[in-house]
């Protein structure tokens, strides 16, 4: 279930009341307690609790209440607590493209492309140092959609430019930044046999990755 759907599950005011109560407690909450807190029937409370669990907003645990154990304690109660998973939805929609374009224009007008590339390389290196998995896996997670180019052994190209909107407006600036980011990423990952180079093609990322001894 998506983050938006999870948040949408809170649209019902009664269900919201149940949720607010459960997440505010320092203990796991059963249906009877939730029903009392929300002023509703236990069956209705159970319904809302299960919907919240389905949406990923609450976790479910089965536990016997404290002080009741051993034979005759009955079966474990179904209890609810705040989900361990974060749900992030930004509303209203945020516009990062406009500030990116304005900043890009300033960098270009200052002739500060070299500074941008230095910062990008450092950023890429830091990301590479903590990255887990192979190069293609890491690039895929960053949205590059890497693939092995046909007929070119060891050449990795990328179908998607994660910075497309601003790259389209400031191609040399953003493509230079992107090259530095990928170079830094390879450095940070310790991929000393690989190198990134500028190979812009229509509809794809401007950078490709190749083996260092591949000098075509």
């Amino acid at each position: 279930m998506s983050d938006v759907e999870a948040i949408t599950a809170l649209g019902d005011p009664v269900r919201r009341r149940v949720y607010d109560y459960v997440v505010a407690q320092d203990h796991e909450v059963g249906r009877a307690e939730a029903a009392d807190a929300a002023g509703i029937q236990r069956t209705l409370a159970a319904f809302h609790l299960d919907r919240l669990a389905d949406a990923g907003l609450l976790d479910v645990v089965f536990r016997r209440p404290p002080g009741r154990s051993g034979p005759g304690a009955g079966r474990p109660a179904k209890l609810y607590r705040r989900s361990a998973v974060d749900h992030v939805v930004s509303l209203p929609p945020r516009d990062y493209g406009t500030p990116a374009a304005l900043l890009a224009e300033v960098v270009e007008s200052l002739g500060a492309e070299g500074d941008l590339e230095r910062v990008a390389r450092r950023h890429g290196r830091t990301a590479g140092e903590s990255a887990e998995g192979g190069v293609e896996e890491v690039l895929a997670r960053q949205g590059y959609e890497p693939y092995r180019a046909d007929g070119a052994a060891g050449v990795v190209r990328m179908r998607n430019c994660p910075f497309h909107a601003v790259a389209r407006e400031f191609p040399p600036l953003v493509c230079g930044m992107n090259l530095a980011l990928v170079e830094g990423l390879l450095e940070g990952m310790g991929e000393t046999e690989l190198r990134a180079r500028m190979r812009a093609r229509p509809g794809e990322c401007c950078v490709e990755i190749t083996s260092k001894n591949n000098d075509d």
Binding site: S109, G111, E113, G114, A165, R168, E169, P171, P172, C175, G176, L179, R197, M198, R199, A200, R201, P202, G203, C206
Partner: protein
């Protein structure tokens, strides 16, 4: 659109003369990149000097300024060559060979198909852009117009 072609002029002030070691990276790129342009889809024409290979001997703005003047079938064709080919790497490295200019140094304008603009025509378009900003008669990659004078939507090239 087929009755119009897109003309393009850009000028650059050299940091070092073309026969110096500092300019070698640029000079060695001239032949392959010009060949790439000549073979690009939608390429129509580019200005060459008397030697016939490139336009580096044409210096209308003085000894340290070189010009590049070409015509393309469409905006997309010019865009793909300029920014989506191996030419991009030379633009990225332009500061190694050219000084930064505060004024616009690239101008685009539509010409009737078949018309090859003169250097004088091109320079007057650049002057117009510098004096009055982008307009249908003289515009830029980022702020451009269709042949009918309508402002093109940003992001219509890919």
């Amino acid at each position: 659109m087929t009755d119009h072609h897109l003309a393009q002029l850009n000028v650059g002030r050299l940091r070092h003369p073309l026969d110096t070691a500092e300019a070698a990276g640029f000079v060695t790129g001239l032949e392959p990149i010009n060949a790439l342009a000549d073979n690009s889809p939608g390429f129509v024409w580019r200005l060459v000097d008397e030697e016939g290979r490139d336009a580096t001997a044409i210096r209308p703005y003085g000894d340290d300024m070189i010009v590049n003047l070409s015509v393309w079938e469409s905006f997309q064709a010019l865009w793909d060559f300029t920014y989506r080919s191996d030419h991009l790497e030379y633009i990225r490295r332009r500061r190694e060979w050219f000084t930064r200019m505060a004024e616009p140094f690239t101008v685009l304008w539509w010409v009737p198909a078949g018309h090859l603009p003169s250097v004088e025509e091109a320079l007057s378009r650049l002057t117009r852009l510098r004096e009055a900003g982008p307009a249908p008669e003289a515009f830029t990659f980022r702020h451009r117009y269709e042949p009918d004078g309508a402002l093109a939507a940003t992001g219509s090239a890919t």
